[in-house]
């Protein structure tokens, strides 16, 4: 059970030719593992998240997924901004085959959105959006949560409740904030120039990242 990337390459067509974003990424994530992936802006972090989440296909290489992995949860991802938080919640519950009403009730009790749950997502602040996304994904109960940046949860009531839930779940978090990795992860990797290097030791990973 896990998620495996085997020699994954990804390039995009640009006006000036093809831009290589990922150049041979190898990785294996076991079920229940909590892994942080650190990378500076523009090193291909978001591309990696989309490939892990199965939203984009690699140009070359293989992705083997044998556990349930969430969609890439981040600032904007996966919501229809003209629809209310509640309707987005129902839609996502339906496509994952979960009961819609229960999901809404869980999100209502967890995400601390109050009346905003019945407002269009377009009116949300970025913190509210990420709370909504995280709450819905927790209601659906994935083996592995895939989080892209923007975990503006901090030391709030929601942040603590979220961290408590995550203790029992797998997590892949892609970020440029070393503190988040130290707080939530047991293993870390550094993304640089389209390749991914794993470190068994968190401190070693953070030191490498800081020297980049």
């Amino acid at each position: 059970m896990g998620l495996e990337l085997i020699d994954v390459h990804k390039s995009y067509a640009m006006n000036t030719g093809r831009k290589q974003v990922l150049r041979g990424v190898n990785a294996r994530f076991e079920k229940g593992e909590r892994v942080g992936i650190l990378g500076r802006n523009g090193t291909g972090k978001s591309t990696l998240v989309r490939i892990l989440g199965g939203v984009e296909a690699p140009t070359r290489g293989a992705v083997k997924r044998s556990m349930s992995v969430s969609w890439p949860i981040g600032m904007a991802a996966g919501f229809q901004s003209s629809m209310t938080g509640q309707d987005n919640c129902r839609f996502i519950a339906r496509i994952y085959g979960r009961p819609a009403q229960e999901t809404v009730e869980f999100v209502e009790s967890f995400a601390e959105l109050g009346e905003y749950l019945r407002m269009p997502v377009g009116t949300y602040s970025s913190g509210m959006r990420s709370r909504l996304g995280l709450a819905i994904s927790l209601a659906i109960e994935f083996d592995c949560f895939l989080v892209d940046e923007a975990l503006a949860v901090g030391d709030t009531k929601f942040g603590r409740a979220f961290a408590a839930r995550l203790e029992r779940a797998g997590l892949i978090i892609v970020t440029h904030q070393p503190s988040l990795v130290r707080q939530l992860c047991t293993r870390a990797a550094v993304m640089d120039q389209g390749t991914l290097t794993f470190y068994e030791d968190l401190d070693e990973a953070l030191a490498t990242y800081n020297s980049l």
Binding site: Y12, A13, R50, G53, G54, V55, E56, A57, G61, A62, V63, K64, R65, S66, W71, P72, A76, A77, G78, F79, Q80, S81, S82, M83, D87, R90, F91, I92, R94, I95, Y96, G97
Partner: protein, 264 residues
């Protein structure tokens, strides 16, 4: 995708896809008609009003000589065309309006199209039923074969879907064609079989219009509506070939498009 290691059985895939299409239908209804209780009525109001008015105009102008001036001829015929037009003209907006949904990997581009087309066709079929019953209530004849009429609506749905998939894929690569689509669907109206029966035309024109797939579907509809009262001309295998070809090109195009559209 190279996920052969853990591919679920086919039946699970089908079930998951139906679940996604169902959810997309509900989403589309909400975003188009709002959440108020009678919002859904708007779905039926548009084809109902358009087809009704156009039929009335034609009836008063031609003064009612047999089938040509018949209310059912235009009202129900127009619904068939309305279904085609509704599906095809909306197709260019489908991909832009569903980009955010693609973050969920079980949502595929064709599913988004299918959901929209289902809504459109259900609305047109519903209004078609209303017109048929209304016509009978006001002293018209019952249709000769309702099944043939439903089959015509089904074929029009599939033909329009084939075109919509192709146009959707093409517009995601080349913006600007979408402006031409409205003009083309509008201009296709006189050639669609909406205003004539093949049998009424001179031979040289028959030989031309018979190449238009929509004409065959209209003939099937009229066969179901009026039975033996005139001679319909249609070849359903020709329509099936069009449906198959447009679907293949469209689905292939969407696969290419999916790889090329960037998510933020």
């Amino acid at each position: 995708m190279s996920e052969a290691a853990s591919r679920p059985p086919l039946i699970d895939c089908a079930r998951a896809q139906l679940r996604v299409i169902g959810a997309l239908v509900i989403r589309e209804m909400h975003s188009r008609f709002g959440r108020r209780r009678f919002g859904y009525l708007a779905l039926f109001a548009e084809p109902l009003l358009l087809a009704g008015t156009i039929a009335l105009i034609h009836q008063t102008r031609s003064g009612g000589e047999g089938i040509r001036g018949n209310f059912e001829f235009f009202a129900i015929g127009y619904l068939l065309f309305f279904n085609f037009r509704g599906i095809v003209t909306r197709s260019s907006g489908t991909i832009p309006s569903s980009l955010q949904l693609l973050y969920h990997r079980q949502v595929t581009l064709p599913d988004v199209f299918y959901a929209r087309h289902l809504i459109e066709s259900v609305a047109c079929t519903g209004v078609m039923a209303i017109f048929v019953f209304a016509a009978i209530a006001f002293g018209g004849d019952a249709p000769d074969s309702p099944m043939k009429m439903l089959a015509a609506m089904g074929l029009m749905f599939l033909l329009a879907q084939g075109f919509a998939l192709m146009i959707g894929a093409a517009t995601s690569e080349w913006h600007g064609i979408e402006r031409g689509i409205h003009v083309l669907t509008y201009l296709s109206m006189p050639f669609s079989g909406l205003f004539f029966m093949v049998d009424w035309l001179p031979t040289w024109m028959q030989e031309i219009v018979i190449w238009v797939p929509m004409v065959h579907i209209f003939e099937l509809l009229r066969d179901g509506q009026f039975g033996d009262r005139f001679r319909p001309v249609y070849d359903l295998s020709y329509v099936a070939a069009w449906i198959l070809a447009t679907h293949l090109i469209g689905l292939a195009g969407l696969r290419v498009a999916r790889r090329r559209i960037g998510l933020e």
